[in-house]
């Protein structure tokens, strides 16, 4: 008698990346189209998220319709520029450099007590100004590059260039999955393999800031979001400290994942009572 044991059902992060890629390309094209745009700007940082976003943008719109902007500050790592140029060159898109040092330092000079963290936030928002300006210059929209892990952790500067893109192809992909997609898209190893960093403070790495590795955090997140109890997650081989850290990061940052909170006065408060999907448009007269 053959004895065949069932394979236990497990939550997995592995995706069919060709299928995901095709879907996200369609997403970029269609979501720009109904908004009336055919061009996009991507703020390249040298990291994997913006590289994947650029690749999707190029597949959706064609290289001539995608503009890559690299926005260094004096403290940015030299390898960030190298990687940004490498990726832009690989896809044959227009590449330009806008140095934000002057913008940021001009402000910093007025607030002498500014900390590295505050200056990093100013850098991120200076890039937002440039990103939107470039979108206006080229008649396109800039694409958000934030991934699901950093969105869940609130690990980004609110209203920074990654957060404010009118459309965000990677927003429902964990960092682990962005890496998987990057491999499918055959992005340079140097971009995929390097430790992720916001490159806003000297020596900063994402995993150092977060206190947990992305690949471990993502598995915990997936189970936590689906409602599995802590004990279940611990049995998968994660520590109490890791689970607590993930839950803390998620639960102290819900406010960052919403639009600004309005004091509700009426029964027609926007987003509370008056609810319309963002693509809703009543018919115009012929």
């Amino acid at each position: 008698m053959k004895i065949i044991e069932a394979v236990p059902g497990r939550e997995v992060l592995e995706l069919n990346y060709p299928l995901v890629s095709d879907f996200l390309v369609r997403f970029v094209r269609e979501e720009l189209e109904w908004r009336g745009f055919k061009k996009a700007v991507v703020a390249l940082s040298g990291g994997v998220d913006s590289a994947v976003t650029l690749a999707l943008g190029v597949q959706a719109l064609g290289a001539k319709n995608v503009y890559a902007v690299y926005m260094p500050h004096a403290i940015s790592r030299p390898e960030s520029r190298e990687h940004a140029e490498l990726v832009a060159g690989m896809f044959g898109v227009h590449f330009e450099v806008v140095d934000i040092t002057g913008m940021v330092e001009s402000y910093a000079a007025q607030v002498p007590d500014i900390t590295p963290r505050r200056k990093g936030n100013a850098m991120a928002r200076a890039r937002t100004i440039v990103g939107f300006d470039k979108a206006e210059q080229y008649g396109g929209l800039h694409l958000g590059t934030g991934n699901k892990t950093e969105r869940l952790f609130g690990y980004y500067t609110w209203h920074d260039v990654a957060d404010t893109g009118p459309i965000n192809p990677l927003g429902d992909l964990y960092k682990t999955q962005v890496w998987g997609l990057a491999e499918h898209l055959k992005l340079p190893e140097a971009v995929i393999k390097k430790p992720p960093t916001a490159d806003l403070e000297l020596g900063q790495t994402d995993e150092g800031d977060l206190g947990i590795a992305y690949r471990r955090a993502d598995v915990i997140l997936e189970h936590y979001l689906k409602g599995y109890p802590d004990d279940y997650i611990l049995r998968l081989g994660y520590t109490e400290a890791e689970v607590a850290r993930v839950k803390h990061l998620v639960n102290t940052t819900h406010w960052k994942r919403t639009i600004p909170t309005v004091a509700v006065i009426s029964t027609t408060a926007i987003g509370e009572f008056y609810l319309r999907p963002l693509d809703f448009r009543l018919e115009q007269s012929p």
Binding site: L15, V20, D22, F23, F27, Y274, P277, L278, E283
Partner: protein, 294 residues
């Protein structure tokens, strides 16, 4: 033989006039196939996710009928055309997610089904904005007896069972199913729909015609993957995910009798179901109460 065209089309949100034109354009392209029945997805005339916009875009049955008849007249089709389409219905200040069966160029509006099972979980929020229908019933068309079930209606095998027991030979299922689950060869919901259609068709010895919406609505990718399943549970035609497509499929009701003779599950159900009604009432708490479960 009844020639069907399953129109897996992408609507423009809120643009009823344009969506009617899109139906006309698609039918014109298919004129040489001479479809006798055209099947469109759930909420095709407006797009699926409307939130409170239901109030602005829902139509009465009369308005729907008039607009579709006008569309039909613009086609100069030459003979009657049966058409099934999902729309948001307004009836005296109450709103429904409905699907209509019309005989254009003939009897006009034949039947309207109001969705009973309103998904209000996850990405869905139907019951906040619309009311439940409360009936599943088959009805006669010029080709045969059929029934309409909308999207989640079909995920409960009980609804197809009622329709089949009511004599339906074809189940038309307009749906709108946002893609989710990207680990396999196709989105998990597309795979699930396919297996559901095959299973229900085989269980009752009926044809199942699924017309599934495509197009991105605010980031949610309506998945498509429309299918026509035959009474043996075989897939007669299948549309790709995400892309607009038209399935041309001939439905032959004369196949039903021999298929059902070989696999008489429906007559078995007719015989066995009365024995189970007391248990159905028991588990629903109407006779004996829930304690009876123990």
């Amino acid at each position: 033989m009844i020639r069907h065209a399953v129109l897996q089309l992408k609507p423009e949100k809120g643009q009823i006039r344009k969506n009617l034109e899109r139906i006309a354009q698609a039918l014109s392209e298919l004129r040489s196939y001479k479809p006798q029945v055209a099947v469109l997805p759930e909420a095709f005339l407006t797009g699926y996710f409307l939130q409170g916009g239901v109030r602005e875009l829902a139509m009465t049955r009369e308005e729907l009928s008039e607009r579709l008849q006008a569309m039909y007249r613009s086609l100069d089709w030459g003979e009657p055309l049966d058409l099934i389409v999902g729309f948001y219905e307004q009836d005296g200040g109450v709103y429904y997610n409905s699907a209509a069966y019309l005989e254009l160029g003939g009897r006009g509006l034949v039947h309207v089904h109001r969705k009973v099972f309103l998904p209000t979980y996850g990405v869905f929020d139907e019951e906040r904005y619309i009311s439940r229908g409360n009936r599943i019933q088959a009805f006669d068309t010029r080709y045969g007896r059929v029934a309409l079930l909308i999207c989640e209606d079909f995920w409960h095998s009980l609804t197809a069972t009622i329709a089949a027991l009511d004599g339906a030979e074809i189940l038309y299922v307009p749906s709108a199913s946002p893609a989710r689950g990207f680990a396999g060869a196709e989105p998990a919901n597309v795979a699930r729909w396919k297996s559901l259609c095959q299973a229900v068709a085989a269980e009752h010895g009926v044809y199942v015609v699924l017309s599934s919406l495509v197009g991105l609505e605010a980031g949610k990718g309506l998945a498509g993957g429309s299918v026509v399943a035959g009474p043996e549970g075989n897939l007669l035609a299948q549309a790709p995910a995400f892309e607009e497509a038209a399935l041309i499929a001939e439905v032959d009701l004369e196949r039903l009798a021999p298929v059902r003779y070989d696999n008489p599950l429906l007559p078995d159900l007719e015989g066995g179901l009365p024995l189970l009604i007391p248990d159905l009432q028991r588990v629903m708490g109407q006779s004996g109460g829930r304690e009876g479960r123990a």
